[in-house]
């Protein structure tokens, strides 16, 4: 770990601070609030920077290494800045049977990057991920809270075009966000 990076200034917004206070008041120990606290940082900053880890460790009264091990154990915590849109395509068995490899190949061709890659403009990041719990409606991909199901290459193209054109994600599961 870079020593200077951990000493960088880290601050949460007032809203983030308030969220954290709320969590600390409700969790039975400070340490048990670690995961929700990391979510608060990531929701606000887009990732969990080293300075944030040092800051949180002090806040919770644990060693920074304890925070690091949690950040690196769980795949959804990101310690580096991410592309604007992270496309996570399920490559597990049910989606695989229903055509996930074709969807991934199509995305690789369209974006010009392999799985794990990021487009030079910083707009897209492509990831193959394990089961997303959309097995009966695969192939599927997820962008944050937005789950796209029953994918076809045409649907993927429409999605990419929309995002490139500045439209916010709008997926099959979004009816639930509105309800």
């Amino acid at each position: 770990m870079d020593e200077t990076a951990t000493q960088g200034v880290f601050e949460l917004s007032a809203a983030g601070q308030a969220r954290l206070e709320g969590i600390l008041a409700r969790y039975p120990t400070r340490e048990s609030a670690l995961m929700p606290a990391l979510w608060i940082i990531q929701d606000e900053k887009g990732h969990i920077p080293p300075a944030g880890i040092a800051w949180l460790a002090e806040r919770l009264g644990v060693e920074p290494a304890r925070v690091w091990e949690v950040v690196t154990f769980y795949t959804m915590y990101r310690s580096e800045p991410q592309a604007k849109w992270v496309l996570q395509v399920c490559h597990n068995i049910s989606c695989h049977i229903m055509g996930a490899p074709d969807i991934l190949r199509h995305l690789e061709e369209r974006l010009g990057v392999p799985r794990g890659g990021r487009t030079p403009d910083g707009l897209f990041q492509l990831e193959g991920v394990e089961c997303l719990g959309s097995c009966g409606s695969g192939p599927c991909l997820q962008i944050g809270k937005h789950m796209y199901e029953n994918l076809t290459p045409e649907k993927v193209d429409a999605l990419l075009d929309g995002l490139r054109g500045g439209q916010p994600p709008r997926a099959d599961t979004d009816r639930e966000l509105e309800a």
Partner: protein, 437 residues
């Protein structure tokens, strides 16, 4: 399209605005809680669930009331956790409960917490279910506002706090001790049992962890009674089970079935058979971690714990993965071995190394770099993993691996002896060292 004769868990699936408190109450929601808090002791609730014969629906199938009974009498601090970390490949039933009927889960969690004497309950939802976390949190907020949570619930002396805890992408947290460690703010690595969580779990206090589907059945049992619940299912497997069906059948989705229904009837009547142009090759009946059954085998089984055990597999989570004849079984097992390798927490050597070896060996068979001895090598690696680790993740990798080798051996042997028939690799394969292309 659940069967009409046994809609206990799925009765409200598809109900318009069914996730909202007012609609849930109009449908009789929270009546069971009122009944329990006004006329039943915690022990009476536990005894009712025990009498109903409800078994854990997360995969292990352990009797729920019995598990609750392991909490030491007189324990001062007890925790209850709902396991909504649904991550078993092929399983998406809990997602449907949280989507359509979050209050059924919440009411069940309150009743279960009451039964075991918990005053703090966590609902641990996998981080990937972002939109469901919002939905459940909204429902929890509604329940607080209506006085179903907090202090003095419905005028009784009982109080309960409920926290929705967001996971962060780790299959292993579905294992109950991994889940508890995760809520403690640690890596989700499982702990050795004993001590069992019911005796020493979260913060070293008695802790009960139950699956969403298990918990969601509790309001019905409390409201209607154990005898009514037992009208469905079989003597040893009472009640109903949600099955989530994926693969190219005509009507994939979540189905509620009485335990003991013949697969053949379910397959032809409910699922409508295979989709056009597809032919049945195999079924992984209880989530990706259970032994596969061939088309011939599955057609003769009934869908309950005992019949499936007799057929050499397990009911597991009820995540039914239907495999069509166009699929190459070596390719599918590579997908699964990649998964277990990826998700192994790294604690136990047989699992950490074994899952990686299984994936590597299958992968080299598929890429034409295998040797005839690889088929036996796969079996030897399995022997060095099964039953030798803290938690069942290694077993979960071995069970599909062994059964694929046993039942579709010719596909492995063909690749081992004739590497030239292996799949050509795609343009990116060399660059990324990724899973199946």
């Amino acid at each position: 399209m659940p069967r009409d004769d046994c809609r206990i868990l799925s009765a409200r699936f598809g109900r318009r605005d069914g996730h909202k408190l007012a609609v849930y109450e109009a449908d009789g929601g929270y009546r069971a809680l009122r009944k329990a808090l006004t006329s039943m002791t915690p022990v009476a609730v536990r005894d009712e669930v025990k009498a109903a014969g409800l078994r854990g629906r997360g995969g292990a199938g352990f009797p729920t009331g019995v598990k609750w009974g392991f909490v030491p009498a007189g324990a001062s601090t007890v925790y209850f956790m709902v396991n909504a970390d649904e991550s078993e490949p092929g399983t998406f039933k809990d997602r449907w409960i949280m989507d359509y009927d979050p209050h059924a889960m919440i009411e069940g969690a309150i009743l279960s917490s009451y039964a075991v004497g918990a005053r703090l309950c966590f609902i641990y939802i996998r981080g990937e279910f972002g939109w469901l976390i919002d939905r459940v949190q909204k429902a929890v907020d509604e329940a607080y506002a209506a006085g179903y949570l907090g202090r003095g619930i419905l005028g009784s002396a009982y109080e309960l706090e409920m926290l929705v805890h967001k996971g962060a992408g780790a299959y292993i947290c579905g294992e109950e001790t991994g889940l508890i460690n995760s809520v403690e703010g640690r890596k989700g690595q499982p702990s050795i049992k004993p001590p069992f969580p019911a005796v020493q779990g979260f913060l070293r206090q008695p802790t009960i962890v139950n699956n969403v589907e298990t918990v969601a059945a509790v309001p019905y049992i409390v409201r209607e009674g154990a005898a009514t619940y037992r009208r469905h299912g079989t003597e040893k497997s009472p009640g109903t089970k949600l099955w989530s069906v994926s693969g190219p059948v005509r009507r994939p989705g979540v189905y509620e079935l009485p335990l003991g229904l013949p697969f053949r009837e379910f397959f032809t009547q409910d699922l409508g058979g295979m989709a056009d142009g597809e032919e049945l090759k195999a079924v992984i009946v209880g989530g990706s971690s259970v032994p596969v059954l061939t088309a011939d085998e599955i057609m003769g089984v009934n869908l309950d714990y005992e019949s499936l055990a007799e057929a050499g597999t397990m009911l597991g989570s009820g995540g039914m993965i239907v495999v069509p004849s166009r699929c190459d079984m070596v390719e599918l097992i590579q997908v699964l071995m990649h998964f277990y390798w990826d998700e192994s927490c790294g604690q136990c050597t047989p699992c950490r190394e074994g899952t990686g070896w299984l994936h590597k060996i299958v992968k080299r068979l598929r890429t034409g770099a295998g040797a005839p001895s690889d088929v036996e090598l796969l079996e030897r690696v399995c022997d060095g993993m099964m039953g030798l680790t803290i938690c069942p993740l290694a077993d979960a990798a071995v069970m599909p691996m062994r059964s694929f080798l046993q039942k579709f051996r010719h596909e492995f042997v063909a690749l081992a002896h004739r590497p030239e028939i292996a799949q050509p690799r795609s343009r990116w394969a060399r660059q990324t060292n990724e899973v199946v292309r």
